[in-house]
Amino acid sequence: MKLEPLISYILRIGVIVGITLAILGMLLLLVKGGSLGYTLDMLLDPYTFINTCTVNYSLVYRGLASFEGLSIILLGLIVMVATPILRIILGILIFALEKDRVYVAIATATLTLILLSIFLVSGIL
Protein backbone atom coordinates (compact mmCIF):
# COMPACT_ATOMS: atom_id res chain seq x y z
CA MET A 1 0.00 0.00 0.00
CA LYS A 2 1.21 3.50 -0.77
CA LEU A 3 1.20 6.04 2.01
CA GLU A 4 0.70 9.20 -0.01
CA PRO A 5 -2.65 8.57 -1.76
CA LEU A 6 -4.25 7.41 1.51
CA ILE A 7 -3.04 10.44 3.44
CA SER A 8 -4.25 12.71 0.68
CA TYR A 9 -7.64 11.00 0.73
CA ILE A 10 -8.09 11.20 4.50
CA LEU A 11 -7.15 14.89 4.59
CA ARG A 12 -9.60 15.73 1.85
CA ILE A 13 -12.46 13.78 3.44
CA GLY A 14 -11.73 15.41 6.82
CA VAL A 15 -11.90 18.94 5.41
CA ILE A 16 -15.04 18.28 3.39
CA VAL A 17 -16.89 16.67 6.31
CA GLY A 18 -15.69 19.33 8.77
CA ILE A 19 -16.73 22.27 6.60
CA THR A 20 -20.06 20.67 5.64
CA LEU A 21 -20.93 20.16 9.31
CA ALA A 22 -19.89 23.75 10.12
CA ILE A 23 -22.12 25.14 7.36
CA LEU A 24 -25.03 22.85 8.25
CA GLY A 25 -24.72 23.77 11.94
CA MET A 26 -24.65 27.49 11.16
CA LEU A 27 -27.74 27.22 8.98
CA LEU A 28 -29.62 25.27 11.66
CA LEU A 29 -28.58 27.85 14.23
CA LEU A 30 -29.86 30.72 12.11
CA VAL A 31 -33.11 28.97 11.17
CA LYS A 32 -33.92 27.95 14.73
CA GLY A 33 -32.69 31.27 16.17
CA GLY A 34 -30.47 29.60 18.76
CA SER A 35 -29.43 26.23 20.09
CA LEU A 36 -29.28 24.21 23.31
CA GLY A 37 -31.11 26.92 25.20
CA TYR A 38 -28.77 29.72 24.13
CA THR A 39 -30.16 32.57 22.04
CA LEU A 40 -28.54 33.60 18.78
CA ASP A 41 -27.40 36.87 20.37
CA MET A 42 -25.61 35.01 23.15
CA LEU A 43 -23.91 32.67 20.71
CA LEU A 44 -22.79 35.44 18.36
CA ASP A 45 -21.52 37.82 21.05
CA PRO A 46 -17.73 38.12 20.59
CA TYR A 47 -17.34 38.29 24.38
CA THR A 48 -19.69 35.36 24.97
CA PHE A 49 -19.05 33.02 27.89
CA ILE A 50 -20.06 30.12 25.62
CA ASN A 51 -16.89 28.37 24.52
CA THR A 52 -15.44 24.88 24.23
CA CYS A 53 -14.66 24.91 27.95
CA THR A 54 -18.05 26.04 29.27
CA VAL A 55 -20.53 24.13 27.08
CA ASN A 56 -22.31 21.25 28.72
CA TYR A 57 -21.09 18.24 26.77
CA SER A 58 -23.86 15.86 27.82
CA LEU A 59 -26.28 18.42 26.38
CA VAL A 60 -24.16 18.67 23.22
CA TYR A 61 -24.23 14.88 22.70
CA ARG A 62 -27.99 14.71 23.12
CA GLY A 63 -28.34 17.67 20.74
CA LEU A 64 -26.75 15.70 17.91
CA ALA A 65 -29.82 13.48 17.57
CA SER A 66 -32.20 16.43 17.45
CA PHE A 67 -30.09 18.42 14.95
CA GLU A 68 -29.08 21.17 17.34
CA GLY A 69 -26.96 23.72 15.47
CA LEU A 70 -24.35 24.10 18.22
CA SER A 71 -23.89 20.32 18.53
CA ILE A 72 -23.37 19.95 14.79
CA ILE A 73 -20.90 22.85 14.75
CA LEU A 74 -18.86 21.37 17.61
CA LEU A 75 -18.86 17.99 15.85
CA GLY A 76 -17.54 19.72 12.71
CA LEU A 77 -14.75 21.35 14.72
CA ILE A 78 -13.84 18.00 16.30
CA VAL A 79 -13.66 16.39 12.84
CA MET A 80 -11.37 19.20 11.74
CA VAL A 81 -9.01 18.74 14.70
CA ALA A 82 -9.10 14.94 14.40
CA THR A 83 -8.10 14.89 10.71
CA PRO A 84 -4.32 15.40 11.20
CA ILE A 85 -4.40 12.88 14.08
CA LEU A 86 -6.06 10.25 11.88
CA ARG A 87 -3.40 10.95 9.29
CA ILE A 88 -0.68 10.13 11.86
CA ILE A 89 -2.43 6.92 12.92
CA LEU A 90 -2.69 5.91 9.26
CA GLY A 91 1.03 6.63 8.91
CA ILE A 92 1.87 4.32 11.81
CA LEU A 93 -0.17 1.49 10.25
CA ILE A 94 1.48 1.84 6.87
CA PHE A 95 5.00 2.14 8.29
CA ALA A 96 4.29 -1.02 10.29
CA LEU A 97 3.20 -2.83 7.11
CA GLU A 98 6.38 -1.66 5.38
CA LYS A 99 8.36 -2.86 8.44
CA ASP A 100 9.94 0.56 8.71
CA ARG A 101 10.81 0.47 12.41
CA VAL A 102 12.40 3.92 12.61
CA TYR A 103 9.28 5.61 11.28
CA VAL A 104 6.89 3.48 13.34
CA ALA A 105 8.77 4.75 16.39
CA ILE A 106 8.76 8.38 15.25
CA ALA A 107 5.08 8.41 14.29
CA THR A 108 4.10 6.63 17.52
CA ALA A 109 6.01 9.21 19.56
CA THR A 110 4.20 11.97 17.64
CA LEU A 111 0.81 10.40 18.27
CA THR A 112 1.61 9.92 21.96
CA LEU A 113 2.51 13.59 22.32
CA ILE A 114 -0.73 14.71 20.68
CA LEU A 115 -2.83 12.37 22.81
CA LEU A 116 -0.92 13.58 25.87
CA SER A 117 -1.91 17.15 25.05
CA ILE A 118 -5.59 16.13 25.24
CA PHE A 119 -5.22 15.22 28.90
CA LEU A 120 -2.48 17.69 29.77
CA VAL A 121 -4.55 20.78 30.38
CA SER A 122 -7.42 19.18 32.21
CA GLY A 123 -4.80 17.47 34.39
CA ILE A 124 -2.45 20.25 35.46
CA LEU A 125 -4.67 23.30 35.44
Binding site: L29, P46, T52, I114, L125
Partner: protein, 315 residues
Protein backbone atom coordinates in the same frame (compact mmCIF):
# COMPACT_ATOMS: atom_id res chain seq x y z
CA UNK B 1 -23.08 40.59 18.58
CA UNK B 2 -20.69 39.64 15.83
CA UNK B 3 -21.89 40.70 12.43
CA UNK B 4 -21.88 37.37 10.62
CA UNK B 5 -21.19 38.86 7.23
CA UNK B 6 -18.28 40.90 8.57
CA UNK B 7 -16.61 37.82 10.01
CA UNK B 8 -17.13 35.91 6.76
CA UNK B 9 -15.75 38.86 4.77
CA UNK B 10 -12.66 39.06 7.00
CA UNK B 11 -12.24 35.29 6.79
CA UNK B 12 -12.39 35.40 2.99
CA UNK B 13 -9.92 38.28 2.87
CA UNK B 14 -7.56 36.47 5.26
CA UNK B 15 -7.90 33.30 3.17
CA UNK B 16 -7.17 35.12 -0.11
CA UNK B 17 -4.14 36.99 1.24
CA UNK B 18 -2.92 34.03 3.29
CA UNK B 19 -3.02 31.61 0.38
CA UNK B 20 -1.33 34.08 -1.97
CA UNK B 21 1.57 34.75 0.38
CA UNK B 22 1.77 31.11 1.44
CA UNK B 23 1.38 31.71 5.16
CA UNK B 24 -2.10 30.28 5.66
CA UNK B 25 -5.01 32.32 6.94
CA UNK B 26 -4.07 32.61 10.61
CA UNK B 27 -1.36 35.21 10.36
CA UNK B 28 -3.81 37.70 8.85
CA UNK B 29 -7.04 36.47 10.45
CA UNK B 30 -6.21 37.07 14.12
CA UNK B 31 -5.06 40.69 13.73
CA UNK B 32 -8.04 41.53 11.52
CA UNK B 33 -10.58 39.98 13.91
CA UNK B 34 -9.09 41.71 16.95
CA UNK B 35 -8.29 45.10 15.40
CA UNK B 36 -11.35 45.60 13.21
CA UNK B 37 -14.10 43.59 14.90
CA UNK B 38 -13.00 43.84 18.52
CA UNK B 39 -12.96 40.08 19.04
CA UNK B 40 -10.99 39.11 22.19
CA UNK B 41 -7.55 37.91 21.14
CA UNK B 42 -8.03 34.51 22.85
CA UNK B 43 -11.07 33.73 20.72
CA UNK B 44 -9.37 35.11 17.60
CA UNK B 45 -6.33 32.86 18.07
CA UNK B 46 -8.63 29.88 18.73
CA UNK B 47 -10.57 30.51 15.51
CA UNK B 48 -7.29 30.97 13.69
CA UNK B 49 -5.77 27.71 14.97
CA UNK B 50 -8.75 25.69 13.72
CA UNK B 51 -8.94 27.55 10.39
CA UNK B 52 -5.25 26.83 9.91
CA UNK B 53 -5.96 23.08 10.15
CA UNK B 54 -8.58 23.47 7.42
CA UNK B 55 -6.30 25.33 5.01
CA UNK B 56 -3.35 23.05 5.78
CA UNK B 57 -5.38 19.88 5.26
CA UNK B 58 -6.80 20.95 1.93
CA UNK B 59 -3.45 22.22 0.63
CA UNK B 60 -1.51 19.22 1.96
CA UNK B 61 -4.02 16.82 0.40
CA UNK B 62 -3.09 18.21 -3.03
CA UNK B 63 0.66 18.48 -2.34
CA UNK B 64 0.92 14.95 -0.96
CA UNK B 65 -0.86 13.49 -3.97
CA UNK B 66 1.35 15.35 -6.43
CA UNK B 67 4.46 14.29 -4.52
CA UNK B 68 5.53 17.85 -3.78
CA UNK B 69 5.14 17.37 -0.01
CA UNK B 70 7.37 14.73 1.55
CA UNK B 71 5.34 12.70 4.06
CA UNK B 72 8.36 11.08 5.75
CA UNK B 73 10.24 14.32 6.26
CA UNK B 74 7.01 15.94 7.43
CA UNK B 75 6.17 13.25 9.97
CA UNK B 76 9.73 13.14 11.31
CA UNK B 77 9.72 16.89 11.94
CA UNK B 78 6.28 17.07 13.52
CA UNK B 79 7.86 15.69 16.64
CA UNK B 80 9.36 19.02 17.62
CA UNK B 81 6.55 21.24 16.33
CA UNK B 82 4.15 19.34 18.57
CA UNK B 83 6.37 19.72 21.64
CA UNK B 84 6.75 23.40 20.73
CA UNK B 85 2.98 23.83 20.33
CA UNK B 86 2.31 22.32 23.77
CA UNK B 87 4.86 24.56 25.50
CA UNK B 88 3.72 27.58 23.46
CA UNK B 89 0.05 27.11 24.34
CA UNK B 90 0.85 26.72 28.03
CA UNK B 91 2.97 29.89 27.85
CA UNK B 92 0.06 31.73 26.24
CA UNK B 93 -2.19 30.53 29.02
CA UNK B 94 0.31 31.80 31.59
CA UNK B 95 0.48 35.21 29.90
CA UNK B 96 -3.33 35.53 29.74
CA UNK B 97 -3.91 34.38 33.29
CA UNK B 98 -1.27 36.84 34.54
CA UNK B 99 -3.35 39.66 33.05
CA UNK B 100 -0.81 40.50 30.34
CA UNK B 101 -3.20 40.26 27.40
CA UNK B 102 -1.72 43.48 25.96
CA UNK B 103 1.63 41.72 25.72
CA UNK B 104 0.11 39.16 23.33
CA UNK B 105 -0.74 41.96 20.87
CA UNK B 106 2.86 43.15 20.94
CA UNK B 107 4.26 39.63 20.57
CA UNK B 108 1.89 39.04 17.67
CA UNK B 109 3.00 42.30 16.07
CA UNK B 110 6.66 41.31 16.29
CA UNK B 111 5.84 37.86 14.92
CA UNK B 112 4.35 39.60 11.86
CA UNK B 113 7.54 41.66 11.46
CA UNK B 114 9.61 38.44 11.60
CA UNK B 115 7.28 36.80 9.06
CA UNK B 116 7.62 39.77 6.75
CA UNK B 117 11.41 39.80 6.92
CA UNK B 118 11.87 36.06 6.53
CA UNK B 119 9.46 35.82 3.60
CA UNK B 120 10.88 38.78 1.68
CA UNK B 121 14.39 37.34 2.06
CA UNK B 122 13.27 33.88 1.09
CA UNK B 123 12.06 34.60 -2.40
CA UNK B 124 15.60 35.61 -3.41
CA UNK B 125 16.33 32.02 -4.42
CA UNK B 126 16.76 28.44 -3.30
CA UNK B 127 19.47 26.88 -1.13
CA UNK B 128 22.93 28.19 -2.01
CA UNK B 129 25.58 25.86 -0.63
CA UNK B 130 24.38 22.28 -0.93
CA UNK B 131 25.81 19.95 1.69
CA UNK B 132 26.63 16.26 1.17
CA UNK B 133 24.21 13.70 2.68
CA UNK B 134 24.88 13.02 6.36
CA UNK B 135 23.95 10.22 8.75
CA UNK B 136 20.41 11.47 9.32
CA UNK B 137 19.82 11.45 5.55
CA UNK B 138 20.30 7.68 5.37
CA UNK B 139 18.90 6.66 8.75
CA UNK B 140 15.70 8.68 8.30
CA UNK B 141 15.45 8.20 4.52
CA UNK B 142 15.26 11.90 3.86
CA UNK B 143 14.97 11.48 0.10
CA UNK B 144 12.37 12.83 -2.26
CA UNK B 145 11.52 13.51 -5.86
CA UNK B 146 8.80 15.49 -7.54
CA UNK B 147 7.75 16.44 -11.01
CA UNK B 148 8.37 20.15 -11.46
CA UNK B 149 5.57 21.41 -13.71
CA UNK B 150 7.26 24.72 -14.56
CA UNK B 151 10.42 23.09 -15.96
CA UNK B 152 8.86 19.73 -16.85
CA UNK B 153 11.73 17.91 -15.13
CA UNK B 154 11.83 15.38 -12.32
CA UNK B 155 13.63 17.00 -9.38
CA UNK B 156 15.45 14.66 -6.98
CA UNK B 157 16.64 15.92 -3.62
CA UNK B 158 17.72 14.80 -0.17
CA UNK B 159 17.59 16.42 3.25
CA UNK B 160 20.54 17.02 5.59
CA UNK B 161 21.01 18.26 9.18
CA UNK B 162 17.76 16.79 10.44
CA UNK B 163 18.60 17.66 14.05
CA UNK B 164 19.05 21.32 13.16
CA UNK B 165 15.69 21.41 11.34
CA UNK B 166 14.13 19.69 14.34
CA UNK B 167 15.53 22.44 16.59
CA UNK B 168 14.26 25.25 14.34
CA UNK B 169 10.83 23.65 14.00
CA UNK B 170 10.46 23.69 17.75
CA UNK B 171 10.07 27.46 17.37
CA UNK B 172 7.45 27.13 14.67
CA UNK B 173 5.53 24.91 17.08
CA UNK B 174 6.06 27.38 19.89
CA UNK B 175 4.76 30.29 17.80
CA UNK B 176 1.76 28.18 16.79
CA UNK B 177 0.91 27.35 20.40
CA UNK B 178 1.48 30.90 21.53
CA UNK B 179 -0.42 32.74 18.79
CA UNK B 180 -2.65 30.20 17.03
CA UNK B 181 -0.80 30.54 13.72
CA UNK B 182 0.68 27.68 11.71
CA UNK B 183 4.35 28.55 12.15
CA UNK B 184 5.03 28.16 8.42
CA UNK B 185 7.66 30.91 8.38
CA UNK B 186 9.96 28.98 10.70
CA UNK B 187 9.13 25.68 9.01
CA UNK B 188 10.50 26.90 5.71
CA UNK B 189 13.67 28.20 7.41
CA UNK B 190 14.22 24.71 8.81
CA UNK B 191 13.43 22.98 5.53
CA UNK B 192 15.15 25.34 3.04
CA UNK B 193 18.11 26.47 5.04
CA UNK B 194 18.84 23.66 7.52
CA UNK B 195 17.82 20.70 5.37
CA UNK B 196 18.66 22.17 1.94
CA UNK B 197 15.34 21.16 0.43
CA UNK B 198 14.17 22.75 -2.83
CA UNK B 199 11.84 25.67 -2.24
CA UNK B 200 8.69 24.08 -3.69
CA UNK B 201 9.13 20.84 -1.76
CA UNK B 202 9.78 22.70 1.46
CA UNK B 203 6.73 24.96 1.09
CA UNK B 204 4.52 21.94 0.41
CA UNK B 205 6.01 19.88 3.26
CA UNK B 206 5.60 22.85 5.59
CA UNK B 207 1.87 23.04 4.91
CA UNK B 208 1.64 19.31 5.66
CA UNK B 209 3.43 19.77 9.01
CA UNK B 210 1.24 22.76 9.95
CA UNK B 211 -1.82 20.47 10.19
CA UNK B 212 -0.38 18.43 13.06
CA UNK B 213 1.05 21.52 14.76
CA UNK B 214 -2.23 23.43 14.66
CA UNK B 215 -4.18 20.35 15.74
CA UNK B 216 -2.06 20.19 18.91
CA UNK B 217 -2.52 23.91 19.52
CA UNK B 218 -6.27 23.57 18.92
CA UNK B 219 -6.61 20.67 21.34
CA UNK B 220 -5.03 22.65 24.17
CA UNK B 221 -6.98 25.79 23.25
CA UNK B 222 -10.15 23.67 23.22
CA UNK B 223 -9.57 22.57 26.81
CA UNK B 224 -8.59 26.08 27.90
CA UNK B 225 -11.83 27.43 26.39
CA UNK B 226 -10.21 29.65 23.73
CA UNK B 227 -12.51 28.34 21.03
CA UNK B 228 -15.67 30.31 20.35
CA UNK B 229 -17.66 27.71 18.38
CA UNK B 230 -19.53 30.11 16.12
CA UNK B 231 -16.58 32.39 15.44
CA UNK B 232 -14.35 29.39 14.71
CA UNK B 233 -16.80 27.76 12.33
CA UNK B 234 -17.53 30.99 10.43
CA UNK B 235 -13.78 31.58 10.16
CA UNK B 236 -13.23 28.10 8.75
CA UNK B 237 -15.91 28.67 6.12
CA UNK B 238 -14.60 32.13 5.22
CA UNK B 239 -10.91 31.23 5.15
CA UNK B 240 -11.49 28.09 3.07
CA UNK B 241 -13.56 30.04 0.57
CA UNK B 242 -10.85 32.71 0.50
CA UNK B 243 -8.13 30.12 -0.09
CA UNK B 244 -10.05 28.79 -3.09
CA UNK B 245 -10.35 32.30 -4.52
CA UNK B 246 -6.67 33.02 -3.74
CA UNK B 247 -5.56 29.90 -5.60
CA UNK B 248 -7.41 31.19 -8.68
CA UNK B 249 -5.99 34.72 -8.44
CA UNK B 250 -2.40 33.64 -7.77
CA UNK B 251 -1.55 32.39 -11.29
CA UNK B 252 -2.86 35.64 -12.77
CA UNK B 253 -0.73 38.09 -10.80
CA UNK B 254 3.02 38.61 -10.80
CA UNK B 255 5.44 37.73 -8.04
CA UNK B 256 6.06 41.42 -7.58
CA UNK B 257 2.36 42.20 -7.04
CA UNK B 258 2.20 39.43 -4.45
CA UNK B 259 5.06 41.14 -2.61
CA UNK B 260 3.28 44.48 -2.63
CA UNK B 261 0.15 42.98 -1.12
CA UNK B 262 2.21 41.05 1.38
CA UNK B 263 4.35 43.96 2.52
CA UNK B 264 1.45 46.40 2.75
CA UNK B 265 -0.80 43.99 4.69
CA UNK B 266 1.79 42.67 7.12
CA UNK B 267 3.38 46.10 7.53
CA UNK B 268 0.03 47.64 8.48
CA UNK B 269 -1.13 44.80 10.74
CA UNK B 270 2.18 44.46 12.59
CA UNK B 271 2.31 48.19 13.38
CA UNK B 272 -1.33 48.27 14.42
CA UNK B 273 -0.99 45.21 16.69
CA UNK B 274 2.06 46.68 18.44
CA UNK B 275 0.39 50.07 18.88
CA UNK B 276 -2.82 48.48 20.16
CA UNK B 277 -0.79 46.48 22.66
CA UNK B 278 1.04 49.59 23.86
CA UNK B 279 -2.26 51.40 24.26
CA UNK B 280 -3.81 48.50 26.19
CA UNK B 281 -0.82 48.26 28.52
CA UNK B 282 -1.87 51.63 29.93
CA UNK B 283 1.64 53.09 29.95
CA UNK B 284 1.07 55.22 26.87
CA UNK B 285 -2.36 56.26 25.67
CA UNK B 286 -2.86 56.07 21.91
CA UNK B 287 -6.32 56.85 20.57
CA UNK B 288 -7.60 54.49 17.85
CA UNK B 289 -7.46 57.10 15.11
CA UNK B 290 -3.78 57.78 15.80
CA UNK B 291 -3.09 54.02 15.78
CA UNK B 292 -4.66 53.69 12.34
CA UNK B 293 -2.84 56.73 10.94
CA UNK B 294 0.59 55.69 12.28
CA UNK B 295 0.12 52.10 11.08
CA UNK B 296 -0.90 53.29 7.64
CA UNK B 297 2.15 55.57 7.50
CA UNK B 298 4.43 52.67 8.49
CA UNK B 299 2.86 50.41 5.84
CA UNK B 300 3.38 53.08 3.18
CA UNK B 301 7.03 53.51 4.29
CA UNK B 302 7.59 49.76 4.01
CA UNK B 303 6.10 49.64 0.52
CA UNK B 304 8.35 52.58 -0.49
CA UNK B 305 11.41 50.78 0.89
CA UNK B 306 10.42 47.72 -1.13
CA UNK B 307 10.04 49.91 -4.22
CA UNK B 308 13.57 51.29 -3.75
CA UNK B 309 14.93 47.77 -3.30
CA UNK B 310 13.40 46.81 -6.63
CA UNK B 311 14.91 49.83 -8.36
CA UNK B 312 18.26 48.86 -6.82
CA UNK B 313 17.88 45.30 -8.11
CA UNK B 314 16.87 46.43 -11.56
CA UNK B 315 20.13 48.35 -12.08
Amino acid sequence: MIELLEVIAIGVLAGVIGSMIGLGGGVVLTPMLTLFLGVPIKYATGASAISTIATSSSAASVYIRSGLANARIGISLELSTIVGAIIGALTAHYVYSSGWTWLMYIIFGFMLVISLMLTVRRREGGPTNIRPPDRTTTILKLYGRYHDLSSGKIVEYYGVRWWLAEFILFFSGFSSGMLGIGGGVFNVVGLDWAMNMPIKASTATSSFIIGATSATTSIIYWNLGYIHPILASISIIGVSLGALIGARILPRISDRQVRWIFTATLGYLSANMILRGIDMSGYIVLPRVQQYVISLAIAICMVLILHRLYRGNAR
